[in-house]
């Protein structure tokens, strides 16, 4: 789907920035790159532009510009309700963090079942049942 189709509060993981030229390049240098997580913050009262959070900062894009960005919708683990079955698509952190999560069986592609919702939350992975704090659950994105 397109970034412009996401609603406030929703998250997307960037798949591709279409087009060429100045807009293309500007979006890239802002860090809007394949693999980056984008959150829709709010829509301007008049319906356009839209504010997005990316890599910890905030930008406003016109809908027309946001439609150059292809995304997949994802959700932070911390938002997932009890008893859901989800698959991990992205872990937002450095090597160390990814390794720590991996030790608990939380890695890209793995399935999880939510035992207790956030926060702290309990998840069941193939390696057992683990407790995650808000800081962790917020950085694991699932579908």
């Amino acid at each position: 789907m397109l970034l412009s189709e996401l609603k406030p509060g929703e998250y997307g993981i960037v798949k591709k920035i279409k087009g060429t030229g100045a807009l293309h390049r500007r979006l890239l240098s802002m860090g809007l790159l394949p693999g980056a997580i984008v959150r829709v913050v709010r829509i301007s009262p008049l319906g356009d532009p839209v504010e997005y959070e990316i890599r910890g900062f905030f930008i406003s894009l016109r809908k027309q510009e946001a439609s150059f960005v292809e995304v997949d919708k994802v959700t932070p683990l911390s938002f997932i309700p009890r008893n859901s079955d989800v698959r991990v698509v992205f872990i937002d952190g450095g090597v160390g963090f990814v390794q720590n999560m991996g030790a608990m069986g939380i890695a890209v592609g793995k399935r999880l079942k939510i035992i207790a919702p956030c926060c702290p939350m309990q998840v069941k992975t193939e390696k057992g049942v683990f407790t995650l704090g808000r800081g962790m659950a917020y950085r694991v994105f699932v579908r």
Binding site: S29, L33, R42, S44, P45, L46, E51, S60, V95
Partner: protein, 664 residues
């Protein structure tokens, strides 16, 4: 020694520049304010250091002026040291620019500015960062002058052993091949050029072609396609991704996030000021208050300056002002015409210039407060979809609203628009907004001719001007001021409390610029007006026997097409100097309110107001327009535009009402 400050917009470059050099320069809170190159000097341990504040950029592509300026400066001027000012609270994106700088230069001092804010978001291992990068890394809080001494020390004594940003093996191999190919061209830094050739950078492409490297470019194109095939994406996305993953990796190596996903103060403020229902009313309320503040506070100062220069007429007589006193004094040793020229022409002109200063100072006080606090970026966010229709970004609303106060500071405020075409468009529209002086004249005339409902008449003019501005903006943006549509990617910075120093520097710069540059033109114009109004020597000032009077009589037949009496024409000519004097001139020429009422029909009066609504901006506005654009052609265009609209509306109204036989 030459030192250049580089960094993303809004990271505190200017703040640190000021702290380093003590030189006055604008400190704003707006991405992209520093478009020109600013220089200053400082001394570190006996070494004279020239410091240059480069424009803020997010990267170093060839797509924007700022980016081209920055990289050309580094390549051509070869600064001894580059200081990369990083907003430490926004580390990852800021590190991206560092990856690009690393390819251009080896001596980089990294400044983690805004460290106060950063500490609320994550803990940063500065030592480790310095070790990984092989560069001096220091922390700073620019607004409190913290870290400046350390920075000075590192500029002189820093050890540089920079890490290379590495690309995947199959990309590196191709970069090295190009490095070899361009050796004969003798361009430095070779690796940077090779990467840019591979990325198909427009500027570098041109340069290499000029140097006769067509074959190299061909080969590079081939290599580029190979990489695009291997990774299945376009080269720009790929190369940016590679560099970002370096920044991303480094970021996670050195920064440990704390307090993830908490609610910030900025978020709470935005929740209110960009609220679906309350956002726009809040904006209008803020503008209204700002407006009231500026014009109410400025008014007594303006009156005082006016009193000092022009004195005051009271029921019992005339209290002389500086102009009269100086005129009489100079009569002792020079002929009357010369004293009149100096005093009634130039000195009075100087008074007019000075009366503008309080408004300009207060306006820029408010504007830089809005800008530095971060609210102006929200204005852009709120108003974008309306302003877009007239070819402007959201912030374009500000100068237009200010126009209702005074077009002079409003034209100066168009500097907040980054795109040059948009700026011109915005300047071209601004004089069509009736300023306070014109509104005052309209109120006076309406009260004479339409005593039953003067407000309605006034509103009709205001609404007409807004419609004209909107429609003309739409047409212009599709035709002569068509912008090549730079992408409007706006950063919404966190709210910050502006510093007094930052605001006062900004305020002073604007007012000083106006006084010095536009002021000279206004005084000159005042002198010219005097020549036409007071000569031939001996006639009454501005009377029908003066040159202005003769001109008015000569042009009177044309004036009848618009229902303008010769006296009305004279008043308009004086209005060119300052719109509010139109009332005084009419008064003097006709003698009384009643006489004015009997001299024109209400239809004529309305036609007169239509003409006055649009015809040429006043001298001060024109001087400012010229000063801001440095283009005589453009300034002339604005005059022409005004007259064309004035003639159009006034003629159409006057003829239509005559044909239809309307009378009021």
């Amino acid at each position: 020694m030459l030192v250049a400050l580089a960094g993303n917009p809004n990271t505190g470059k200017s703040t640190i520049f000021n702290a380093l050099t003590g030189m006055k320069q604008h400190v704003g809170n707006w991405p992209g304010v520093t478009v020109e190159k600013k220089e200053g000097e400082t001394e570190i341990e006996g070494t004279r250091v020239k410091v240059v504040d480069l424009p803020g950029t997010y990267s170093l592509t060839a797509y924007t002026m700022e980016e081209i300026i920055t990289r050309n400066f580094i390549i051509e001027e070869k600064p001894d040291v580059i200081v990369d000012i990083i907003d430490a609270s926004n580390l990852e994106r800021n590190l991206y620019l560092l990856t690009e700088l690393l390819e251009l230069h080896s001596k980089i001092v990294v400044v983690l500015n805004m460290f106060d804010e950063a500490q609320k978001k994550y803990s940063i291992d500065v030592e480790k960062m310095s070790r990984i990068l092989g560069l001096p890394v220091i922390t700073a809080v620019g607004i409190r002058g913290k870290g400046i001494d350390k920075l000075k020390d590192k500029i002189i004594h820093g050890k540089f052993n920079p890490k290379k940003v590495e690309y995947p093996e199959d990309v590196e191999r191709r970069i090295e091949e190009i490095v070899e190919l361009i050796k004969p061209l003798n361009i430095e830094p070779a690796r940077w050029y090779a990467i840019k050739i591979l990325e198909n950078d427009a500027e570098v492409h041109k340069k290499v072609a000029e140097l006769g490297g067509k074959d190299i470019l061909h080969r590079a194109e081939h290599l580029r396609h190979e990489i695009e095939d291997i990774y299945g994406d376009d080269i720009e996305s790929l190369m940016t991704s590679f560099r970002y993953s370096f920044a991303h990796g480094l970021f996670h190596e050195v920064a440990e996030p704390i307090n993830v996903g908490g609610v910030t103060i900025t978020d709470m403020i935005d929740h209110v000021v960009t609220h679906k229902i309350f956002g726009l009313p809040i904006f209008l309320a803020i503008m209204y208050l700002a407006f009231q503040f500026v014009f109410l506070v400025a008014a007594p100062f303006q009156d005082a300056i006016d009193l000092i220069f022009n004195g005051k007429s009271t029921a019992t007589g005339h209290i002389p002002g500086l102009v009269d006193l100086s005129y009489n004094w100079m009569l002792q040793f020079m002929p009357a015409w010369l004293s009149s020229f100096i005093n009634h022409g130039m000195l009075r002109g100087l008074g007019a210039v000075l009366t503008f200063t309080p408004v300009i100072m207060l306006l820029f006080l408010i504007l830089s407060f809005l800008e530095d606090s971060g609210y102006l970026a929200r204005v852009a966010f709120l108003m974008d979809s309306i302003m877009k229709k007239m070819g402007l970004e959201g912030r374009g609303i500000i100068p237009l609203m200010l126009g209702f106060g005074c077009n002079v500071p409003a034209v100066m405020a168009t500097r907040t628009l980054k795109d040059e075409k948009e700026r011109r468009l915005s300047i071209a529209l601004n004089p069509l907004i009736p300023c306070g002086a014109r509104i005052q004249v309209f109120a006076f005339i309406s009260s004479i001719f339409f005593p039953s409902n003067p407000a309605l008449v006034l509103w009709s003019l205001l609404i007409l001007s807004m419609v004209v501005v909107f429609v003309l903006g739409y047409i212009y943006s599709k035709t002569i001021f068509r912008s090549k549509s730079e992408p409007f990617v706006l950063e919404l910075p966190p709210y910050r409390m502006p510093t007094l120093k930052g605001i006062s520097i900004h305020m002073w710069e604007k007012s000083e610029g106006f006084l010095r540059k536009a002021g000279t033109i206004i005084v000159g114009a005042a002198a010219i007006i005097w020549i036409f109004a007071a000569l031939p020597w001996g006639v009454g000032y501005g009377s029908p026997d003066s040159y202005i009077g003769m001109f008015a009589r000569w042009i009177a037949p044309i004036g009848t097409a618009f229902g303008l009496t010769p006296e009305a024409i004279i008043s308009l000519i004086f209005g060119f100097f300052a719109k509010e004097v139109v009332i005084d001139v009419l008064y003097v020429l006709y003698g009384s309110k009643e006489a004015i009422y009997y001299a024109m029909s209400p239809i004529q009066a309305y036609s007169f107001m239509l003409f006055m609504l649009f015809y040429t901006p006043c001298v001060a506005t024109l001087a400012t327009i010229y000063n801001e654009t440095k283009s005589k052609k453009f300034t002339f265009f604005v005059i022409l535009e005004g007259f064309a609209l004035a003639a159009l509306f006034s003629f159409a109204f006057y003829t239509l009402t005559s044909i239809l036989g309307v009378s009021v």
